[in-house]
Symmetry: C2
Subunit: 229 residues, 2 copies
Amino acid sequence: MLGPSPARRAVVLLSGGLDSAVCLGVALREGFAAWTVSFDYGQRHRAELDAARAVASAAGVPASRRRIVDLRGVFSGSALTGHAEVPLDRDPAEMASGVPVTYVPARNLVFLSLAAAIAEPLGARDVFIGVNALDYSGYPDCRPEFIAAFAEAARLGLRDGVTVHAPLVRLDKAGIVRLGLEVGAPLHLTLSCYRGTVPACGRCDACLLRRKGFAEAGHPDPIPYAPEG
Amino acid sequence: MLGPSPARRAVVLLSGGLDSAVCLGVALREGFAAWTVSFDYGQRHRAELDAARAVASAAGVPASRRRIVDLRGVFSGSALTGHAEVPLDRDPAEMASGVPVTYVPARNLVFLSLAAAIAEPLGARDVFIGVNALDYSGYPDCRPEFIAAFAEAARLGLRDGVTVHAPLVRLDKAGIVRLGLEVGAPLHLTLSCYRGTVPACGRCDACLLRRKGFAEAGHPDPIPYAPEG
């Protein structure tokens, strides 16, 4: 008798935030053996790399399958890499209009490309990314059109090709919270705050969207916030 | 009276090999102010990084406009990153059949993505890459279809977008040599050998194609080769 077939391998982009933690949970629920890739790109909120480690560990991804790629010095021109202040207390309509100062040029293009580079030698044909277009319509590289175009470029540029999964792309934050609860993602270990503080600031775009999402999902957010947040 | 308009800025991928040196020459001839980007990805032929520096310098690109991005440890699964021997003495038909062991998974996808990430904050809307499809039909990421698909992904994923120029994509090696002479590229400073030896080995695919190209162009190759090559 044959044993169980070996799990298909997938590379999951894991920032340590809510969305990518839920995305990892989806990949695992679908039966993939997951390798996680995180990036140190000089982000203000580098504490998210610790969160990524904790999330991956809690989700059962062994240390040997977790990669952190050092891209310090590559990205510039973003509030997330120190070139302007992170905006606070904005309302959702404001967040959705125009490209925010927290936009990092070509970030998901670079992250997905590196995920593909790491995937192919592993024999992984699947890459997961936790982008969502609804709450962040201002980021061009979170839109489904971009993901589809990237997938086509990767299909043509790689020997074996990869399938790009973006399971959250059409969900809002409340939907992501519900999905995270459903797949058992360790939401209490995630870090979303753009300012990277623990407890979270509660006032940057990322904190505001997250809190709104938990509130709408009717579930308490398990992470601590600063008293003034 | 207005002065001359400032030169448009371009990011040029520069490996230090023949093709990218010619590509840089084309960008400069077209009047672009060039920023060069080279990659240290653990390639056997890391000597090409010295060649890239020499080529850029000879072409008049100041040191402040030359970037080397450290990607050591990212790429694996290639003879160029030490996972198999570089094949020697192959004939051109053999080189053109199948994906060679010197294929580096997702290399041009990653290189172009990083070029785009570097370009946008510089205000550069143009990226140059010296791929050519004829001599290296075995590399999926050197084909015009891939370049076009990447350009579309970059258009959708970036705020400002970039135009991808691949001026050598339909030239053979002899045509590249002729173009290099025409634009005054410092061909004597380029390094093509996959084994990274100086003098060049003369026997790997890169050396064989280069020598054939110079021979067909009727111009002596200005770099030295090993006596047994």
